[in-house]
Symmetry: C2
């Protein structure tokens, strides 16, 4: 005995259908080459139906983008405990960029990074929550490093975390605009290594 009425069940089916179809089409033809109408039609449903389930065209793969949090949760435990903060950050970024490159794909990331620019980030911009999560993860590593005296004393954990995450955003941005001339995993490695060298306490 389900809690759901038959309407709710059908609605849920429609929503999932739209979601799956939308993601499939985005993957095949790229975000800008897929119309909301075409997604709806492919599901034998009207555009109006689409908009009862999703607020915007973007929303549909935000659903997918939210997977990134699931990725974080499953990836973090695989990071060795007995290495330096520096190593942890590099390990994490390598894993993250590999995931972005191989699982989510450049097109998806392009749209996410593009729409983050669209409006001044108000409280509930969807990029915020995964980003906030990412920031928290990096912040944790950084704090460990600060405690262990790995980093320059004059910088706070907040500042360091900001720079380290910016390093990642810059690399991802470059990956998108320079396209296949760049391998994001290689690039994050190079960039972060140098930045962390610069953050290192030098006695």
């Amino acid at each position: 005995m389900s809690n759901f009425t038959s309407r709710q069940v059908k609605a849920q089916e429609t929503k999932e259908n739209l979601l799956a179809t939308g993601l499939k089409l985005f993957h095949e033809k790229g975000f800008d080459n897929v119309t909301v109408d075409s997604i709806a039609k492919a599901c034998n449903v009207s555009k109006g139906a689409f908009y009862t389930h999703f607020d915007s065209k973007y929303d549909i793969f935000l659903e997918k983008f939210k997977n990134i949090d699931a990725f974080y949760s499953s990836f973090i435990p695989t990071i060795p405990q007995d290495i330096s903060a520096r190593e942890k950050i590099l390990f994490f970024y390598r894993g993250q960029l590999t995931y972005l490159r191989d699982d989510l794909g450049k097109e998806l990331i392009r749209t996410v990074y593009s729409s983050a620019l669209s409006l001044t980030m108000t409280e509930d911009h969807y990029l915020t929550s995964p980003e906030r999560n990412l920031y928290k993860i990096i912040f944790r590593f950084v704090e460990e490093g600060v405690q262990a005296g790995e980093f320059k004393e004059e910088l706070t954990s907040d500042v360091i975390s900001m720079l380290v995450t910016r390093c990642m955003r810059g690399t991802i941005y470059d990956w998108i605009i320079f396209g296949d001339r760049l391998d994001p995993v290689e690039e994050i490695q190079k960039m972060t290594t140098v930045l962390l060298d610069g953050l290192q306490r030098n006695n």
Copy 2:
């Protein structure tokens, strides 16, 4: 005796009028809140006229964005000759970000950075030419530094230039998405200092 016919003169006037009016409106109301129609109407001209002079709405402030090259040309000579490459880069970035912040404004930069993401950068993406110029400037400083033995030997000038310019792109991206919580001049200073520390040859 001008080389131009009266038609060409009038057309040029119309174009300049559209350009000036467009920039004024963008500045007043923000790029997304200005329609091509409204620009045209404000010039007592049709939308069709707009599109004979410009390929797209974006084009209109690309014209302005090209000013950035003029800025480079006038700013470079003010950079002291007798300082290290590191200092030159910092000096240049400070000047550049100040210019972006105070003269071009965040809204303009937002649109530029946003549309750079729109399509895979093909040869003639408009961002390319100012960027290419910027890259060349940084590359020149970096080469000086490499020659002078300022930087880690294992990195090529190309790689270093890429990281240094990425540093800037990342900072600008952050400026846009985090809004007024960030001062771009301060941020580029912090970020670049750390990165350059990491690039420094350590004997």
